[in-house]
Symmetry: C2
Subunit: 495 residues, 2 copies
């Protein structure tokens, strides 16, 4: 097998030494370690197709790997079949920006291109690729598409799904499906592209993408607002949408408990309020056009709110430095939380209109069932995405007999609260290996059954990233086959 792989990708494209392989088979936070026969790094789509064809013929599972920055262990190789440890497929050598089409606003890239490199290439033609997240220096576009990555820009530009104009995918049988023409309009039948976006590598290997570029917005304005409660934040968002909806680039709601930890653990931060507001809203507006008076828009909208007493106080940044200081506080949240203790972070999404009620419900659950926790809220309010956090002290955590079971109990309780508002337990992080059981427990059964049927259709032998998103061992297959058989028998009147 190794010789046949070497014949496809060459010596440079193959790592089979267990020590050298270690970083490729281990989750980047060290939570989970897998194993594989080899790490293979093809240099072209043709090499990927040849490798996938070989694996299909020999029954070797394939574990696609991007930048290994995922939060749900979806890139850890764990084969479900004895004697077939599987291949880690790294796209790192496919890192070419194939073309930038300024008039059409399309960048065509290999899947292994690092997000930060695309940012730079877009800027070189006075455009931006508006997906931003902490790991942009190492996250690869193939992985970001396979997990439908989010980030702070979703409120204006949508998640990765909205930025993909075309894909090139190697299917589990080795054939290459491509729609890199990336037409803005194309009404010639079923849209297959969206099945692969967010599929976490379980339906095929994304080898390239056509991605939408947007105009740059060099003119920005920033505010830090103190509001009485999440309801007031929602009312402010609605008013700002009326006045300048399409300029809203960030609208973040953060609880005092969260910013207290930033003040406690991070040096050289400046918070423009003392004491820290019960609820802070951080706002960024942006425009391509330098003449649009964004600060005036903020002043007038916030002023009307202050007058009506919905809003307690507000600071509009008067310099780029002050704006940077605001966002430095926001971006220090993760580091502060790691220093504080053990935080169970949830990735809830609900309708924006339900966010206030959800937070009340989650607080009640936390107070009653997990009184040892301090709760924190970090919310992309414009998307209804609430990172609801229960923070435990290390001493408490170390006293637990089974911390993993306890963490699961916490997660289930908060996920259940989201479900009562028709919300989701995975807004932007995905499912991976971590949340498979939660998906089975909480997904609409009909939708879950159809997912199994789609998986069977594209990957009947379950070789693509087995054990990620759907259970390994083709458990999804049994359910979907019986349903298909039932459907086949359901229409006696048809010929």
């Amino acid at each position: 097998m190794l010789d046949r792989l070497r014949a496809i990708v060459g010596e440079k494209g193959l790592v089979a030494d267990p020590v050298e392989m270690a970083p490729w088979v281990t989750d980047f936070r060290g939570r989970r370690r897998g194993s594989a026969l080899a790490v293979v790094a093809p240099a072209s789509t043709a090499e990927v197709a040849a490798m996938v064809t070989l694996c299909a013929a020999t029954g070797q599972p394939i574990f696609p790997l991007g930048g290994n920055t995922g939060l749900c262990c979806g890139a850890v190789p764990e084969s479900d079949r004895p004697g077939k440890p599987g291949i880690v497929l790294s796209l790192r050598r496919m890192n070419r920006i194939r073309a930038i089409d300024q008039a059409a606003g399309i960048a065509t890239v290999d899947a292994g291109v690092v997000l930060g490199d695309l940012h730079a290439a877009a800027a070189a033609v006075r455009r931006q690729f508006p997906l931003h997240l902490g790991s942009e220096g190492s996250a690869q576009l193939g992985g970001l598409i396979s997990t439908n990555a989010g980030g702070t820009g979703v409120v204006r530009y949508g998640p990765m799904r909205d930025l993909v104009a075309g894909l090139e995918v190697v299917l589990p049988d080795g054939r290459v499906l491509s729609d890199l023409a990336a037409l803005r309009k194309d009404n010639t039948g079923y849209m297959l592209r969206h099945l692969f976006i967010g599929a976490e590598g379980t339906l095929g290997v994304i080898t390239a993408a056509a991605l939408r570029l947007h105009a740059q917005t060099p003119n920005t304005a920033h505010a830090w607002v103190s509001v009485a409660d999440p309801e007031a934040a929602i009312a402010l968002l609605t008013a700002l949408q009326d006045r300048a909806g399409s300029t809203i680039q960030a609208f973040e709601l953060v609880s005092a408990s969260q910013f207290e930890l930033v003040r406690r653990h991070i040096e050289r931060i400046r918070i423009p309020f003392s004491p820290i507001p019960a609820w802070s809203v951080l706002i960024e507006l942006g425009s391509e056009d330098a003449s649009t008076a964004l600060n005036t828009i903020l002043e007038e909208t916030l002023g009307a709110f202050l007058a009506r007493d919905h809003l307690k106080d507000a600071v509009i940044a008067t310099s780029e430095q002050q704006a940077a200081e605001f966002w430095h506080v926001r971006h220090s949240v993760t580091e502060a939380n790691v220093k504080e203790g053990i935080g169970i972070v949830h990735d809830i999404a609900i309708r924006t209109s339900d966010v206030a009620a959800f937070i009340v419900a989650a607080d009640k659950i936390a107070a009653e069932r997990f009184p040892q926790a301090v709760t924190q809220v970090v919310c992309h309010l414009g998307d209804g995405n609430v990172h609801y956090i229960l923070m435990f002290q290390r001493s408490f955590w170390e006293s637990l007999k089974d911390p993993e079971a306890f963490a699961l109990e916490v997660e289930r309780a908060i996920h259940d609260a989201a479900a009562t508002y028709a919300g989701t337990f995975s807004a932007e992080h995905g499912v991976g290996r971590k949340l498979i059981a939660e998906l089975q427990r909480l997904a609409d059964p009909l939708r879950y059954e159809l997912m199994g049927q789609i998986k069977t259709l594209f990957d009947p032998h379950g070789l693509m990233n087995p054990g990620v998103l759907l259970p390994a061992g083709r458990a999804w297959h049994a359910a979907s086959s019986s349903t298909a058989a039932r459907a086949m028998a359901a229409a006696p009147g048809s010929r």
Copy 2:
């Protein structure tokens, strides 16, 4: 069968008299007339589900009908099975706007709601639903979603696909799949929604949708620009994207030959240039914010172009009335063409960057092969959507032995030209019954095969709108089954 249908939908929901049924089984332009056992109009999703279940059990085809405004005969009932004429399913009684959620920016509507009624409901909460087309007074949202409708607003807001946040669908087996929670972020597996958008009713019946509302843009600016050629129009678009990309609400490129016909046939129109420019660009910018100086943005961007001689002349509207006059000329195109003669209209999309080259190629084909035609261009340039028209005099047309065959020859030639630029023959109009053969001829074979497999998965008996999009008689089924069998046999090494 009629009694069983009446038991589901009541007397009010059933039309079975052939004379009364005539308008429901005939294309709105009278090009094609079908027949059916009955026209059934359920009043609820439950009634739709009961009716679909009954049809599945009895092998009756179902022909979903919206406002009957489609351009490709996708709503004409033509059964492919002897003795089973099928049921026309009209959603007209399901016309309730279920809810408007202002903070989340979501309207939840029955599929039978007319587009114009949604416009009014959105305006009542200071929002807009930004899909606009000529038939908005009768087109229904279910049909507009099933055909992924376009229109002039796509350059800013995208096609219908980008405006759908959730769907309720009755599957061909009668079960109801719903994701009306309409979360902005949800990464819990395969995105099924996009399969139904643009499927033209062949995978199930859309009974309701959650649709995205946008902020209103009361501040607008309008220009009519004379450019030397399509290349100059593309350069102007790129410059305007740099300066104010997100405010561009329309960017239409129209040939002199087209506006000559408007001047010839339409009364009381005002064209601000004499003679009519070889190439006109009509631009609309829009902003929520009243302070943004859109006219200044136009003046400065156009001024820089005039100075560099890319652009011949420009008029910026100085009043709402003048702006309305500009757009009245543009919107009179269809009426003028009907008065002039027989126009073969193509619905091409290519990359914006390829539009100029495509027009040159199409002009060459027209001049060489169809010298009797005058050619006209009406292009949504921002989307790369070119309505390329060959206009024939009635006298010539009446001299043809087989006008239908001649029209097909014209269409194939222009579609082939688009294909050389990786373009599509159906940008926004769909496939329907009209373009089935072109889809078979021009689609990527792998994609077409996968479409057949998806059709087989959802509708194994071919009862949903047979003969639309894919050929009737389950011709798609044979191809996809053999492929599935091949795939099943392809991986001997797997268990």
